[in-house]
């Protein structure tokens, strides 16, 4: 019989087959690039320098990538804080006072699936972190104005607006709880480190302070300790056992260099914070004294008795202009808390400044800025090697890492 149709059918069938094969291979290669989905996904946040200023990006991966590129990530904005709980990323946008809930689709694209507007409820600038208790219970803290917003992460609906005592030092200086993280204990107590960036050094803070929120009673209290001054970004977790420490802050170290006050408590110490939010009365180490340093800039990690400390050497000439202070030369040392000795390490010579960005599969991860070669990396804290560069970040620094399931 006449064979026109079968000839055309064959041609179209071949084209369709090729299309199908192409799409199948594309999907498979996309999946293979990210690994096995059963293990959950790795979320990576970066802060990249763009023509519009530094911007936050978020990407999802099934395996730890060797390189993350903002072109393959979702642009979040310029004032964001990234969190995750369960299988969803949550991103606070400080410029619009919106909390957005994201999901990762089969093509590994991170997409907004829901959002909550806080603009008419609280002031965006008083935001101080989220804390997740369950899939139905989470809190957003605005303690500078004495408010805690309870919401349901599943429905992204507000369930309660709580009025609580505001931060005790909130009205005298630029004080707030940390924007990027909070700690939830086993009994659902939420610990929020309180930090400060004092512009007016006459109001130098004279106590260390932590906000302690009891999610069962929905009440807050403030735990203080006069052995140290108020820090900023000031919790560090012991990698070995999860113990929480109150660590020094470079902002307050700078303030101390220019402050007219002379009887302020040490800024370069280390306090231990118990699970109930109280400071351990039997633990305090003045790292500045142990290192005989000019100032302690930061505690990067605590691993049992070993504490990795970034410090400024004694004898450094304080610049007249406080704006030049952050460009100070620093050194890195491992302090032995048992022996009260230290050993300098040359890590900073190559990577610049290192800071913690999150935990992945039981390992602490760090990121850097100010490397001599201008590169940015994520680093895995390893038993055998202090830092192992795992992932190069294109265009800027890493800011967040976590696994969602």
């Amino acid at each position: 019989m006449y064979n026109i149709s079968s000839l055309r059918l064959t041609t179209y069938a071949i084209v369709l087959l090729w299309l199908f094969v192409f799409l199948f291979v594309a999907c498979r290669s996309s999946s293979n690039g990210h690994g096995d989905k059963d293990h959950g996904l790795i979320l990576i946040g970066t802060r990249v320098k763009t023509p519009q200023g530094r911007m936050f990006y978020l990407g999802a991966y099934q395996d730890m990538p060797t390189r993350v590129d903002p072109k393959e990530m979702v642009l979040l904005g310029r004032e964001n804080a990234i969190y995750s709980y369960g299988k969803h990323p949550y991103v606070w946008d400080g410029s619009s006072a919106i909390l957005r809930k994201y999901a990762v689709d089969n093509a590994m694209k991170v997409k907004v699936v829901d959002s909550m507007q806080f603009k008419n409820i609280v002031k965006a600038e008083s935001f101080g972190s989220l804390a997740f208790i369950s899939n139905e219970e989470a809190y957003a803290f605005f303690l500078a104005e004495g408010k805690v917003i309870q919401f349901n992460p599943s429905t992204m609906r507000m369930t309660a607006s709580l009025t609580v005592p505001a931060l005790p030092m909130g009205k005298t200086a630029e004080v707030n709880t940390n924007t990027y993280y909070s700690f939830v204990t086993d009994d659902h107590t939420i610990l929020l480190p309180i930090g400060i960036n004092p512009n007016n050094f006459d109001k130098f803070p004279t106590v260390a302070q932590v906000a302690v929120f009891n999610s069962r009673e929905r009440s807050i209290r403030y735990s203080s300790d006069s052995r140290m001054s108020l820090g900023y970004n000031n919790f560090a977790v012991d990698i070995l056992n999860g113990d929480l420490y109150y660590r020094p802050s470079k902002y307050i170290a700078r303030a101390q260099d220019y402050a007219p006050v002379s009887d302020s408590p040490p800024t370069g110490g280390l306090l231990k914070v118990k699970k109930d939010g109280n400071f351990a009365s039997d633990f305090f180490v003045d790292l500045q004294k142990v290192l005989d340093a000019h100032r302690i800039v930061s505690v990067i990690y605590i691993k049992g008795k070993d504490v990795l400390v970034q410090y400024i050497e004694k004898g450094w000439q304080i610049p007249k202009d406080p704006g030049e202070w952050f460009d100070c030369p620093t050194k890195l040392a491992v302090v032995d808390l048992h022996q009260m000795t230290y050993k300098n390490t040359p890590l900073l010579d190559h990577y610049g400044t290192i800071y913690p960005v999150g935990e992945l599969d039981g390992k602490q991860y760090f990121a850097n800025f100010g490397a001599k070669d201008g590169t940015y990396h994520f680093f895995e804290q390893d038993d055998d090697q202090v830092f192992k560069a795992t992932t190069e970040v294109l265009g800027g620094s890493g800011i967040y890492i976590a696994r969602i399931r």
Binding site: M1, Y2, I4, S5, R8, L9, Y12, R47, K49, T50, P51, Q52, G53, R54, M55, P70, K71, M73, L75, R78, E79, A81, G94, E125, F127, E174, N176, N178, T179, Y180, N197, N199, N200, F201, D202, Y232, N233, K250, Y251, Y258, P260, S298, D321, P322, G323, E324, F326, D327, T353, Y355, P356, V357, A367, F369, G370, G396, S397, G398, I399
Partner: protein, 208 residues
């Protein structure tokens, strides 16, 4: 009856009827198909109106069958199909456009301004130099590709590198400026932005 020496068999209504009814033998089928594929439109062959209409009838039957099998309709006479290359060209164009937008779209557009952020929002300054009076803690971003500068009312001047962000602060009544590149990304210093600013250049665009 029509005879045409290119065909072994004569094409007549009976053969065509058998072809349509699938009862024609192999030789008759070949003769009909060769005849259908002949586009010479030789008038000698098509002298009979009856035969002409029969040829259309055969084509109609073929089309009905092929359409019934959900395949693309075979049209006669064959015309050059411009739709396919046009569609392909459009698809390539769209792909290139999307790829370009993906490549460049991940970064917002550039413009030639200094952007000062205070508690009141953003102010864009188009001039290369401006004088300002401020309180609190401000963010200053040189969004342009050239060096710009600002001068505080107390006489302190600061140079702004292209594409760099700074924080202006007042400590004990004295202004200072901190480049964002000196600050650790894990310190969310933009949260401390507060206070107000007054700009003295002529070309200031308030985005509040």
């Amino acid at each position: 009856m029509v005879s045409y020496n290119c065909y072994i068999l004569e094409i007549n209504p009976e053969i065509l009827k058998r072809y349509n009814e699938h009862t024609a033998n192999e030789a008759e089928c070949k003769a009909v198909e060769d005849w259908l594929n002949d586009y010479s439109e030789d008038l000698n062959v098509l002298s009979s109106n009856e035969l002409h209409s029969m040829k259309h009838s055969v084509w109609r039957q073929i089309q009905q069958k092929t359409n019934g099998a959900n395949v693309v309709q075979f049209t006669k006479p064959r015309k050059k199909n411009y739709a396919l290359p046009l569609t392909a060209a459009l698809a390539i164009f769209l792909l290139i456009t999307v790829a370009y937008q993906r490549w460049t779209g991940s970064y917002p557009n550039d413009s030639d301004a200094i952007v000062i952020t205070s508690a009141q929002g953003d102010i864009e300054i188009l001039e290369d130099h401006c004088k300002l009076q401020f309180s609190g803690y401000l963010q200053v971003f040189n969004r342009s590709s050239k060096i710009k500068s600002i001068e505080c009312t107390n006489g302190e001047k600061y140079t702004l590198a292209p594409g760099e962000t700074y924080y202006l602060e007042t400590i004990d009544g004295k202004h200072s400026i901190v480049p964002e590149s000196h600050l650790s990304p894990d310190d969310n210093y933009s949260r401390f932005i507060r206070g107000d600013v007054k700009i003295y250049p002529e070309k200031a665009k308030n985005n509040v």
